[in-house]
């Protein structure tokens, strides 16, 4: 028996006539998936390591190990040492850790390269692979600190205070008026943000690591049809996948609060990169005292980051090259707004 697409979805039972004809040559007999279903499946595909720095690095190192068919033998790359982070953390002082980890990596790479030189004294394509490996290594060093997570726990999974940004709805709509490119809304948990952006008339490019929030937004998207799109994933990674200067504004909440220093800087740097000249960056950040009061002790222990004071954000944004950073302090709630623009 073949029952194609005779599904009951959120919109109710579909008519049997919607069922795909098994003889239909399109996509193995299946019609293209709706955007929300496609996004649901794409969110998984983005978890594949292919294309990541780790993947590229390991692949380059493997290319240093030609098969026996080529008459050459090189000791295979054994991967990064298991105790890399322990060795890196040996210095205790946080500011020295990154340097120590880099030193360990550099030592590993140097020793391995020397073994290759000793084993294979001939000119082969290995040279190119070595350069690739070093390039990948160099590219990933600045993310090692942010990526380190010995417990395998993501901050997004912790029970954190939920921002209520309704105080800023009207202001947001005004700040974003006239946007002629989509607006990234980084994390979707803050009440009032997506609706305010949609009210400005801009297309919404939403992203959140929590699938349930993405799904809820896709189910009840405000604004005109097609105005709101949403993606499951990390905000920084999402921004990094976008081409430069393609968004009129980026509105961030949640992620700026919980990220550690390196993660905060990476986040706003990535946001800055996608802004068109004169584009707007809006940070909706928790008040530090309110944040501390709301945190459970376990979360406080496990969370690497803490909200910056809004004045600190203004300083950081200016340091990173954004212009006219302005702090708007909360009057009714516990969420402050920091607004800055990319240079024209």
């Amino acid at each position: 028996m073949t029952a194609s697409a005779g599904a009951t979805g959120p919109d109710g039972p579909r008519d049997a006539a919607d069922a795909t004809d098994p003889g239909d040559p399109t996509v193995d007999g299946a019609a293209p998936l709706p955007d929300d279903e496609r996004e649901l499946l794409d969110a998984f595909e983005r978890l594949a390591p292919a294309g990541s720095l780790q993947w590229g690095f390991d692949d380059a190192m493997r290319r240093l190990s030609p098969s026996g068919d080529q008459g050459t033998w090189v000791e295979p790359w054994r991967g990064l040492p298991d105790d890399l982070w322990e060795r890196g953390r040996g210095a205790k002082a946080a500011e020295r850790m990154l340097g120590d980890v880099v030193a360990v990596l550099a030592q590993e790479l140097t020793e391995y390269s020397q073994r290759i030189v000793d084993d294979v004294r001939r000119t082969v394509p290995i040279e190119g692979a070595v350069f690739d490996a070093i390039r990948y290594l160099a590219a990933r060093v600045d993310r090692l600190e942010a990526a380190a997570d010995p417990l395998g726990m993501r901050p997004a999974d912790l029970a954190l205070p939920v921002a209520d940004a309704t105080e800023w709805s009207t202001a947001l709509t005004a700040w974003l008026a006239g946007a002629d490119h989509p607006v990234v809304v980084g994390e979707l948990g803050a009440a009032g943000v997506v609706g305010a952006v949609a009210d400005s008339g801009a297309d919404v490019d939403g992203v959140d690591p929590l699938g349930r929030l993405v799904w809820a937004l896709l189910e009840e998207a405000p604004g005109r049809p097609g105005q709101v799109r949403a993606t499951v994933g990390d905000v920084t990674e999402h921004l990094d996948r976008l081409p430069p200067a393609c968004r009129s504004a980026v509105v961030l909440s949640g992620c700026p609060d919980r990220a550690a220093l390196a993660g905060k800087v990476q986040l706003v740097t990535s946001a800055h990169r996608v802004l068109v000249p004169g584009g707007t960056l809006v940070l909706l950040v928790h008040d530090q005292e309110a944040w501390d009061a709301a945190l459970e002790p376990t979360v406080r222990d496990l969370l690497a980051g803490r909200p910056f004071h809004p004045d600190t954000w203004a300083l950081v944004l200016g340091h990173l090259g954004l212009t006219d950073p302005v702090v708007r302090r909360a009057e009714r709630g516990s969420v402050h707004a920091v607004v800055a623009r990319s240079a024209r």
């Binding site: 028996m1 073949t2 029952a3 194609s4 697409a5 005779g6 599904a7 009951t8 979805g9 959120p10 039972p13 579909r14 069922a19 795909t20 098994p22 193995d28 007999g29 299946a30 019609a31 998936l33 709706p34 279903e37 649901l40 499946l41 969110a43 998984f44 595909e45 978890l47 594949a48 390591p49 292919a50 294309g51 993947w55 390991d58 692949d59 493997r62 993501r154 999974d157 690591p209 929590l210 699938g211 349930r212 799904w215 189910e219 499951v232």
Partner: protein
């Protein structure tokens, strides 16, 4: 090249890269060995690499040359790349391919570069060995077609020989635990298969997500399978967490036969969305336990399950969730599928598969495989020497 052991009868010897327990190919190989020995045929299992659990049952393939006897037949269990492939291609004895399907490399490419490369090499090696074999045995017509495409001149379909029929009884204690758990909410979906990208477990998770958001807020999913590809396995867990399904999706592996049987016996539906299946043992297990099936129509799935399952061409999350919901809401339809499953089991002839396989191999050994052999096709074989093609 060949040291001829004197005074030993010719045998039918099995070659497998590694012999694992609780592994489909491993259990098939062990079952076939036992059947051959029971039939009075000398049989040794040769491996490329030893598995500590089975090392007492195997010998290294490099030692076969010293054991070889004129009239031996070598049966190669094909499931992955192995140095044995090219070695077998150079052996003078007749070689039979017992094919268990090679998962195409593209499924692994984004997850595990070395495995993808290994699978590509396996396909190349198979194309080199297949034309030199006297017989290729596939567990399904799907697999037989792949053998023919690889250049196998003579092929037969004989289904898997190690599916226990009647099925293993569920472990009573495990069953009781699962029933108590199910009383707290359901339905429970079951998905069985290695955590490998071609199995597409993520699509079952996505469908569960939709089902819980729509028709079945208490739906749960048990995924039974070992982490064949660690990145993929880790991504499945993270995906479930990202979708807020940590408590709704259970990952389990290394079950006892009774524990697995208890899963089949207490689940409400088997959901199998694999993209590449050479046979689909879980389909047979589900049918034998009276569990209805919702599956993606890919590979040998339709051939195995026949009319006893809901086959999907569209396996989008809504389509899968909808098909499961429709099935579970229709007891008559469910009973119809369960009855069809039992009939399908009988039609598959699994109870004869083991003896059919032994008979086919004995035919090769006696030189009858070929024009007068079981398949009525193929090429004459000179025992102890190369086939004449």
């Amino acid at each position: 090249m060949t040291g001829r052991a004197s005074g030993r009868a010719p045998g039918i010897h099995l070659f497998v890269p590694m012999l694992h327990r609780r592994d489909a190919v491993g259990e098939h190989t062990r079952s076939l060995r036992d059947r051959l020995v029971a039939a009075g045929v000398p049989c040794t299992v040769y491996t490329e690499l030893p598995d500590p659990d089975t090392v007492d049952e195997t010998r290294p393939y490099t030692g076969y040359a010293d054991d070889a006897v004129l009239g031996d037949v070598l049966v190669y269990q094909v499931a992955t790349r192995s140095d044995m492939t090219r070695w077998l291609a150079d052996r003078p004895e007749p070689v039979v391919l017992n094919y268990h399907s090679l998962t195409p490399a593209p499924f692994f490419a984004r997850w595990n570069n070395p495995i993808a490369r290994m699978q590509e090499a396996a396909v190349r090696d198979l194309a080199e060995l297949a034309p030199r074999c006297v017989l290729g045995i596939g567990v399904s017509e799907f697999d037989v077609a792949e053998l023919r495409a690889a250049g196998c001149p003579d092929t037969r379909r004989i289904p898997v020989a190690n599916v226990p029929l009647p099925p293993v009884e569920p472990d009573p204690a495990v069953r009781a635990t699962l029933i108590a758990r199910k009383a707290q909410g359901g339905p429970w979906w079951l998905s069985v298969g290695r955590l490998a990208p071609n199995k597409c477990h993520q699509e079952a998770i996505a469908a569960l997500f939709v089902a819980r958001a729509t028709s079945a807020p208490d739906a749960h999913l048990t995924i039974v399978g070992g982490p064949t590809e660690p990145h993929y396995a880790a991504a499945l867990r993270r995906y479930a967490a990202d979708l807020g399904l940590t408590g709704a999706v259970e990952f389990t592996t290394r079950l006892t036969p009774g524990g697995l049987a208890a899963r089949y016996a207490t689940a409400d539906v088997l959901v199998m969305l694999s993209e590449h299946e050479g046979f689909g043992v879980p389909l047979v297990e589900a049918m034998s336990h009276g569990l209805p099936v919702v599956a993606h129509d890919a590979g040998a799935v339709a051939e195995t399950v026949g009319a006893a399952g809901v086959l999907l061409h569209d396996k989008g999350p809504r389509a899968v969730a909808g098909a499961v919901a429709s099935l579970l809401a229709d007891p008559a339809r469910r009973a119809e599928l369960v009855a069809a499953g039992r009939a399908r089991l009988a039609a598959l002839g699994l109870e004869h598969a083991g003896s059919d396989l032994v008979t086919a191999l004995q035919a090769v050994a006696s030189g009858t495989q070929g024009a007068g052999g079981p398949s009525g096709r193929g090429t004459p074989v000179r025992p102890g020497g190369h086939s004449s093609h």
